[in-house]
């Protein structure tokens, strides 16, 4: 059974309210942290091995360590609650059911960073969650966890909520800061990084909801205990939001030692493929990470079992592997069309491109049109190579990673499912009513060659 550090109390009735949360031991990490030195807390986070839960997996303690501390300049902590990566809906769950856990983690983090003001930037569509969080913030303040001189420690902290208004790009940390400043969500050129010049040009740390929530068990149970959970550089637990053609879609908190096979087929998790169908493919870490055919998902190219952690999912690089990313786990059964799926994702990225960089602005729209043509049975063989060429020209050539995020799904679909694209071109009428199906993808000896 996977240990639960974040969601252990999610099902307790009334846990959303302060009284029940506090009664269950909530806010004890703040009591403990305020008696520590801020630098000690940063050290604990470093030792815990916690990696950012938003998608990039950057070590949190190291990010905190980069924060500049010029005299007389305020420092800010910003919580990235702009969860928008298709397939990802875990932060929503945390905020909806355990709003005080996020606030608790943020108070500890803000104290460690020496920040007297923090902001939670939440995607505009999560409107009802904004109300839940606001109520929790008011309760925290009434009970002395926010405001002046918290618990007599001399530490002052105010926390505010801000709603976005519908823009995937605002999940990119510098775009988020622009948006928080009341501007369009155009990512900034880095360097300078937010740790030096962030919100209103002040040193800023931007962390994901789940990352900040994980600070609570790390402080409560100690970095060492936390780092013993999981494996290698994938310490602690990870929230996985599972969706697509599975029996039990939802949020699962797992230790990163579970195998992918166990995660999909066990009744403890996804409960197998829905309607007795076969597994065709999976996007294991949110829509931008490479899609993998069943054989490469369950086992690496070397034939070893694949596990639900940062290292194992990326084993083989992009040639034969993928990424844990945000934990948005999208499962496709044998009836799903890879071309259509790739088209909807390309359309998503075109819709969300901020338009600053021409490779992304032009390239995403171009890829969308070509994919739509192929899906509609109007594609040419040369379109497949053209798609490959376009994604290569976007990747690495933009200010922010949205360009890469748009390029990778297209590249991986062609890399692993080129035959299905060709079948669409060769069968322009049949492809409108029939599916290519599993073909040989379930065959374990099929290993892609194009990289």
């Amino acid at each position: 059974m996977s240990k639960k550090l974040l969601l252990a109390k999610a099902h307790i009735e009334g846990i959303r309210s302060y009284d029940v949360y506090r009664g269950e031991g909530g806010y004890s990490s703040v009591e403990k942290a305020l008696k520590m030195q801020p630098a000690e807390i940063v050290e604990e986070i470093k030792k815990s091995g916690l990696r950012g839960r938003g998608g990039a997996g950057f070590p949190t303690g190291m990010k905190w360590g980069f924060l500049a501390k010029p005299e007389g300049v305020p420092r800010y902590l910003v919580c990235n609650a702009d969860e928008s990566e298709p397939g990802t809906f875990k932060d929503r769950y945390l905020m909806e059911f355990l709003p005080h856990l996020l606030i608790e983690g943020m108070i500890v983090s803000a104290f460690a960073l020496g920040s007297n003001t923090s902001y939670i930037y939440i995607r505009g569509e999560y409107h009802w969650i904004t109300d839940i969080l606001q109520k929790a913030l008011d309760e925290a303040k009434q009970n002395g966890w926010l405001g002046k001189n918290i618990l007599g420690s001399g530490f002052d902290h105010e926390m505010y909520l801000q709603r976005g208004a519908g823009a995937y790009i605002c999940g990119e940390e510098t775009a988020l800061l622009e948006s928080l400043e009341g501007k369009r969500g155009n990512p900034r050129i880095k360097p300078p990084f937010p740790a030096v010049k962030g919100l209103w040009d002040c040193p800023t740390v931007v962390n994901n909801v789940e990352t900040l929530a994980a600070v609570v068990p790390i402080i409560n149970e100690g970095a060492e205990a936390y780092s013993k959970i999981g494996i290698g550089k994938s310490t602690g637990t990870k929230l996985i939001s599972a969706c697509g053609n599975i029996n039990k879609p939802g949020i699962y908190e797992i230790e990163m030692t579970e195998s992918v096979e166990e995660f999909i087929y066990s009744d403890r998790f996804c409960g197998g493929i829905a309607n007795g169908k076969k597994l065709k493919a999976c996007i294991p870490g949110g829509s931008s990470v490479p899609i993998l055919p069943a054989n490469l998902l369950l086992n690496t190219a070397k034939g070893e079992k694949r596990y639900m952690n940062f290292e194992s999912l990326s084993d083989g690089g992009f040639a034969t592997g993928s990424m844990l990313g945000s934990g948005g786990f999208i499962v496709l059964d044998e009836d799903q069309c890879i071309v259509k799926n790739t088209y909807t994702l390309a359309r998503f990225y075109r819709h969300e491109s901020c338009g600053q960089c021409s490779p992304c602005r032009e390239g995403t729209g171009w890829m969308e049109k070509i994919l739509k043509n192929i899906d509609d049975g109007k594609g040419k063989m040369s379109d497949i190579d053209l798609l490959w060429d376009i994604q290569r020209k976007i990747e690495g050539n933009t200010i922010c990673p949205l360009g890469d995020a748009a390029a990778w799904p297209v590249a991986a679909a062609i890399r692993h499912f080129r035959d299905e694209f060709e079948w669409h071109v060769l069968n322009p009428e049949k492809c409108l009513t029939e599916n290519y199906g599993l073909a040989h993808y379930a065959d374990p000896i099929h290993v892609a060659v194009a990289v």
Binding site: G164, G182, R184, I283, I330
Partner: protein
Amino acid sequence: MIKFNDENLAEVEKLIQHYPEGKQKSALIPVLHLAQSQFNGWLDVPVMDYVASLLKIEPIEVYEVASFYSMFNLKPVGKYMFEVCHTGPCMINGSDKIISYINQKLNIGVGGTTEDGIFTLKTVECLGACGYAPMMQLGKNYREHLTEEKIDAIIDECRGNNSDTINNFNKMNA
């Protein structure tokens, strides 16, 4: 004369306090949300100009933001907006069928508004409800695990609310 009601004016004052002095522009997006909810669900140019004057910024600073974010409507919309997600995970679970059912049921295309001005249908990209697909946003809330029967019920619910005397737009879209 375009003016926020007292409740919204007080809210604007409160929002500005969230930011350091002189950084009141940061309140722009929350204030535009308030404006859209008070002024019939969309942002007309005079409304945006009013917001600019409130926050002491140039009108263009408001226009460029309002046009960037997909939740701001720059044209009139129906009282109830069905925002149906059609990105990958929802598509896998049949969002196309839901969209065409609404097309047929309300006799409007995507982006269209019914003649009585009650319903607008819009497609949106991933709203973070992938495990509960297909889904749509209606006002403040999500409607998930959609089926044709559920769509029928939602339409009836909106039509029923619409005959109430209170301002339901604000109730459902606040």
